[in-house]
């Protein structure tokens, strides 16, 4: 007897029980509408855990008070949004009513631009290297992908042990006769490491995507280029890059959206400090809600962040469609 037979019987029995309920239902509402019935569990989960909190957050953005219950909160219209946007010179947060929001916004812009650029450049370079027939290619592919498997909290803790004042890196510097460096307590250094750790942790994922893109380029094109006298650079410039552009675009959009939402590893690594040097928008929202207990202001800030993400997504869709049309 096949070892799968009892399992098959069990599945048949379960389906038989399900039939008792589903068959009359199907007879009643018809075959086509049964699709909605099967979608219902997913829709319920989406509604309860995503849509409802989103709507609640939208409402909170227009209220004030310390209570978390909507009915106990006072409606104040656009007061929270006005407070966030009240600023004489956006480039100088000290002139803004909610200076920490604009510091966080400025930090986020710098973080997004630098981190996304580094991710795209390093991921592409790594993917190109790993696409060549080098010794230990499988091993290196695993090495670069490994950080992606780690939780951002674990990543941040590992780097914190390396970078803190009495960490491994400073121990090495001191043992080599140098002086301890304030890697996490100097504003410039902290911003630098927040970006580097982010790149290190995520690069493997984007490398993998680009690697798949590289492997989908037909080898005939390179052979044809070779016959036409193309060197390595011209092959890259006129074959690899254009063929890889759709994949690069995916990498750009994914890394951009993720960078705007940066929170987890920086929160553990620097806590947003020193001062507000690594305070990014999501952490601003978190601390405003759960430390300052200003849920209304935090919700309003998250609405503004959602707006930014919406603009980015729409831009991506339009550019994507344009690229497809071309």
């Amino acid at each position: 007897m096949s070892p799968l037979r009892p399992l098959s019987r069990a599945v048949t029995a379960v389906l038989g029980v399900a039939d008792i309920v589903l068959e009359p239902l199907q007879n009643r509402i018809g075959l086509r509408r049964m699709a909605y019935f099967f979608l219902l569990p997913n829709l319920l989960i989406f509604g309860i855990f995503i849509l409802f909190p989103m709507l609640l957050n939208f409402y909170y953005g227009f209220t004030t008070g310390e209570s978390i219950l909507p009915q106990n909160r006072e409606f104040v219209g656009t007061q929270n949004l006005a407070k966030l946007l009240d600023c004489q010179d956006f480039r100088n947060p000290n002139t803004c009513n909610e200076d920490r929001f604009w510091r966080a916004a400025g930090n986020t812009v710098v973080f997004v631009v630098v981190e996304v650029t580094l991710i795209v450049v390093f991921s592409l370079a790594t993917a190109l290297a790993l696409n060549r027939k080098i010794i230990g290619r499988g091993f290196f592919r695993s090495v670069f992908f490994y950080p992606v498997l780690l939780s951002p909290v674990v990543v941040a803790l590992i780097w914190k042990w390396l970078l803190q004042q009495d960490g491994l890196l400073n121990a090495l510097i001191v043992s080599a006769g140098g002086q301890r460096q304030p890697f996490l307590i100097d504003s410039g250094w902290a911003q630098f490491w927040a970006i580097i750790v982010g790149v290190w942790a995520q690069m493997g994922f984007y490398t993998l995507i680009l690697l798949a893109g590289l492997q989908s380029i037909p080898p005939d094109l390179y052979e044809a280029g070779e016959i036409d006298g193309a060197n390595a650079w011209t092959s890259f410039r006129f074959i690899t890059l254009p063929m890889l552009m759709p994949t690069m675009f995916v990498v750009l959009v994914l890394s951009l959206i993720r960078a705007v939402q940066i929170f987890d590893h920086v929160f553990v690594l620097t806590g947003g400090g020193p001062g507000t040097a690594t305070l990014y928008l999501v952490q601003y929202i978190y601390t405003t809600a759960f430390q300052s207990r200003n849920y209304g202001l935090a919700a309003a800030a998250s609405l503004l962040l959602a707006l930014v993400l919406l603009v980015l997504t729409v831009t991506q869709l339009r550019l994507g469609r344009r690229a497809e049309a071309a």
Partner: protein
């Protein structure tokens, strides 16, 4: 037929098991306590509760221990949605006013309960002057104050200032600590003269002693409040400026480890590890550190608490502590109050504080004294020192501690001073922002 009999038998057994389970569940009252730990007090409580359960077979007490940082994030949704635990250990007592259980109808002797605790503690838990309810008790009293590493003083050959004077200023302490740090620091071991926890609460004491005025009083001597009961805090006063400037100077002159204030991001941070590692001469913190020091330092070096440094306005520390509060959502209020009575009774509470190395506000125990169960000389001496600080606590310190909106001043000072330390703001700008932050918090409360 046989199969049908077997099925019937199994059904009967299942029903019987369920019935027994239901009876058992109905016969046992389960109480839940939300708790956090500073030291070993959770173990001590569990030990006491095991005894209580043995004496009261119908009661089972479950302790839900969570990290202090998550306490209010967990408790607030529970409380507001009507799912509060029976009891919870809280430090922000004002936050849950209106949700506490008035234990008066259930207490065997409400007057005795009220007499067992100082009036300011009872009033702290009440919603206002008209409220006469009894809602909980303090599991521990805390007082802020500094610790010193006496061994470092001895190694440096520097006299401990408090050995020869009852009233030592911050400047005198820092000068002495600097001499010690200079003398004992080595190339491979940097010793810092002074550090203070990254907390606005820790700054309040020194600031008050330097003459800070955090609120005005009305003709009756009560703090000015808005219609919601929030104290109208003021940030800018010469005393606060002096204290803030002192902390900025410590950072600018390399007297304190920068990572405590600048390296902690947006949360509370303690300099405890520096003190424990022997890298700190003077550490401004509070009595709750004693248990951890007794365990982690022991007698590795001589450490002790010293009286709060004085200024022209006094020598106060900040009071505080953790309260065990009963919540009115409790399904078993009578059983919850019985347990509260037992835990707060003099013999049980005495054992709790003696084993946890906590100070207590309990009136009877404060008079009769407690016999702390530690062989670490520094722990005993520190507990005595902090006990001596309690009568010196100023009225303003009590107002700051018990005001419903004091958290906003605490956080604003912590965050804005850090920005001044890292150069993002000047001290003037930091003080303006502190004022704005507390005003905004009051408006949105």
């Amino acid at each position: 037929m046989e199969k049908r009999h077997l099925f019937s038998l199994m059904l009967l057994v299942l029903l019987a098991v369920l019935a027994v389970g239901t009876v058992s569940a109905q016969g046992t009252v389960e109480l839940r306590i939300t708790w956090y730990n500073d030291g070993n007090e959770g173990d001590v409580l569990r030990d006491l509760l095991d005894r209580y359960e043995a004496e009261n077979p119908g009661v089972k007490v479950v302790i839900d221990t969570i990290a202090y940082a998550d306490l209010d994030k967990t408790l607030q949704p529970q409380v507001e949605t009507g799912n509060a635990p029976d009891l919870a250990r809280v430090t922000d007592v004002s936050r849950y006013k209106g949700y506490y259980l008035d234990m008066t109808p259930y207490l065997s002797d409400p007057e005795a309960w009220a007499a067992a605790w100082p009036a300011p503690i009872i009033e702290w838990m009440q919603s206002g002057p008209e409220d006469k309810g009894l809602y909980g008790f303090m599991t521990q009293a805390t007082v802020t104050g500094p610790f010193i590493n006496r061994t470092l003083f001895e190694q440096a050959g520097v006299d401990v200032p408090s050995d020869s004077s009852d009233q030592v200023t911050w400047q005198e302490w820092v000068d002495a600590a600097k001499q010690v740090a200079d003398a004992v620091s080595a190339p491979d071991l940097k010793v810092y003269p002074v550090a203070i926890d990254r907390s606005g609460h820790r700054v309040w004491g020194p600031a008050l002693n330097m003459g800070a005025v955090f609120f005005e009083r009305d003709a009756d001597g009560k703090p000015l409040m808005d219609e919601k009961g929030n104290v109208l805090f003021t940030a800018d006063s010469p005393g606060f400026r002096s204290a803030a400037q002192m902390i900025l100077d410590w950072h600018a002159n390399g007297l304190t480890p920068v990572e405590v204030w600048a390296g902690a991001g947006g949360s509370y941070a303690s300099a405890r590890d520096f003190f424990t590692n022997g890298q700190l001469v003077l550490f401004m913190s509070g009595s709750w550190q004693i248990g951890a020091f007794a365990n982690n330092i022991g007698d590795a070096f001589d450490w002790e608490a010293i009286p709060n440094p004085c200024g022209e306005a006094g020598c106060t520390g900040m009071p505080g502590g953790a309260a065990l509060m009963a919540f009115k959502d409790s399904k078993n209020p009578e059983a919850a109050v019985r347990l509260m009575e037992w835990l707060s009774s003099a013999p049980v509470h005495k054992e709790f504080v003696e084993r946890s190395l906590f100070l207590t506000y309990h009136v009877e125990l404060a008079q009769s004294g407690v016999d702390y169960q530690t062989n670490v000389p520094g722990a005993k001496k520190s507990l005595d020192t902090f006990l001596g600080e309690i009568p010196k606590l100023s009225d303003d310190a009590w107002v700051l501690q018990t005001a419903r909106n004091s958290f906003s001043l605490n956080i604003a000072i912590r965050e804005r001073l850090t920005q001044a330390i890292t150069g993002e703001l000047t001290l003037d700008e930091a003080i303006q922002r502190i004022q704005q932050d507390v005003d905004d918090a009051r408006a949105s409360s």
